[in-house]
């Protein structure tokens, strides 16, 4: 079964998705990433007001079989984290692009050229499978 890759979002090579709403961007992990990890049992999120650099390790998602670091896809300041994940980490599995979002960042710059389009990300996932 193909994992969903919404066209409206941008992606990082490390399997985070990014959505821009006005001056804040929302970050989560892709359907492909949650599928590879399996059932999540714990999510560790950054502190609000923390400043993050591009590629900085800022969160951890832990499943029954693995733990993975989340890398900051856009430099900025954390403005909100998804606290509902502390009690319900499986939201990431059930709804990775919706209720399973991880944190929101107010970016330092408006230019996100490092990010991939949905098509580019799909090609990357396909190439990783080989």
């Amino acid at each position: 079964m193909m994992n969903s890759v919404p066209k409206t979002l941008k992606y990082s090579k490390t399997h985070e998705w990014v959505r821009q709403d006005d001056d804040v961007i929302t970050v989560g992990i892709t359907d492909h990433a949650q599928c590879m990890l399996g059932d999540l049992v714990y999510v560790e999120l950054p502190d609000v007001e923390m400043s993050l650099e591009l590629g900085q390790e800022c969160a951890v998602v832990e499943s029954v079989k693995a733990a993975a670091d989340i890398y900051c896809p856009v430099p900025g300041e954390i403005v909100e984290v998804n606290e509902s994940l502390f009690d319900n980490p499986q939201l990431v599995n059930e709804d990775p692009y919706g209720k399973g979002w991880l944190f929101r960042i107010r970016p330092f710059e408006s230019d996100f050229h490092e990010l991939l389009t949905a098509d580019e990300y799909t090609r990357q996932v396909a190439s990783e499978a080989h």
């Binding site: 714990y42 560790e44 502190d47 693995a66 733990a67 670091d69």
Partner: protein
Amino acid sequence: MPFIPHTEQDVKDMLAAMGAASIDQLFDEIPASLRVKDLPPIPSQLTEMELSRLMRERAAKDVNTLNFIGAGAYEHHIPAAVWDVTSRGEFLTAYTPYQAEASQGTLQLLYEYQTMMASLMSLDVSNASLYDGGSSLAEAVLMAARTHRKNKTHRILMPATVHPLYRQVVKTIVSQQDIEIVEIPYDPATGKTSIAVLEKMTKENLTALVIPQPNFFGVLEDVDALTHWAHAQNALVIGVVNPLAMALLKPPGQWGKNGADIACGEGQPLGVPLASGGPYYGFLCCKQEHVRQLPGRIVGRTVDQSGKQGFVLTLQAREQHIRRAKATSNICTNQGLLVTASTIHMSLLGPTGLRKTALVCHQNLCALREKLSKLDGVRPLFSSHLFHEIVVELKQPVESVLTELAKNKIQAGFNLKKYYPELGNALLICVTETKTPEDLDLFVSQLHDVLRGLAHV
């Protein structure tokens, strides 16, 4: 690849490649003054029969002494069943189960151990044990630092009344990690840590306060006030405790208003023989909110697909086989066999038996203190409540007193001079439930004679 590491030809080739004439030349780096020239001659091999005889002869030199040394390793009665059961092949020969869930018996035992330790400490969770008391305290300090990740550097307040060897182990393990260990002097009148002294400390970047209970002098610290003070500074509280004493005293989870955050210590008093100083095991317990910072193995209970009970290793993302670089610890082997003995020991004694044992230790100490107070040349140093150890100042040199009493088969205690020179002629004496009133009388009368004898030399 062959298992024989190198042939003579290999050695020659390697030396030639390095341009060295001999293996000895490789050690030229070490100054001649530091090198031991003559190793004591190592004898050639013995047959099993010869070796058994040699060992029997050496064993015969051991004498049964009356032991009053504590200082971190305590002589207790261990029911015969404990090591009889522990020595069963299923326990004795089992190494860490790499296919852990195939060893349900081992996992169940560890689960029972964790349950017992957590209830003894009145905390939520326990790991499956660590190397020893010192390393468990070091791991507790590292846990506290990870929990306070917002602090750039960490200051850990460490009372001088914590076991001196534990303090050395902590320094060795944490010194490279932006963790500063600040030693807190004790009150010379009471032998314990005072709030007044703590108040004088810099409160910036305060990560944790360590509270020993009882402390190295056998003195009971004011755990409630200390815990309250630390929490008011937003610091964590680490209790380093004698687990047997916790059957009688208020356990760490109930200290102050909110309880200590982490409890650790030496598990030896629970069914592990003195055995010349080891192997022992360390225990580590904490509140639920810190469980992801707890190092080492944790066994959990669950149900399988058909609803049957089973045991598994849980929260493994903390461990080095999942994320090596980010593991909570890379030196956290558990001491499975000793934990097996402890678990059986605790299950045989039960909460009531443990409490009674601790109480008899304390009553014996009180009886000894009473008798000692009537002796000339012996003065208790601290005016505090004690568990089963007491510090006394002797009028005669401690070394001589210890030597003389040893001649009469009495190990009178631990000489504090090396670690606490400021106390002068101070001796740390321990009494456990293994001593009878006659033992105490003998000890006191012998001490009396020795002190009088030395006074007349």
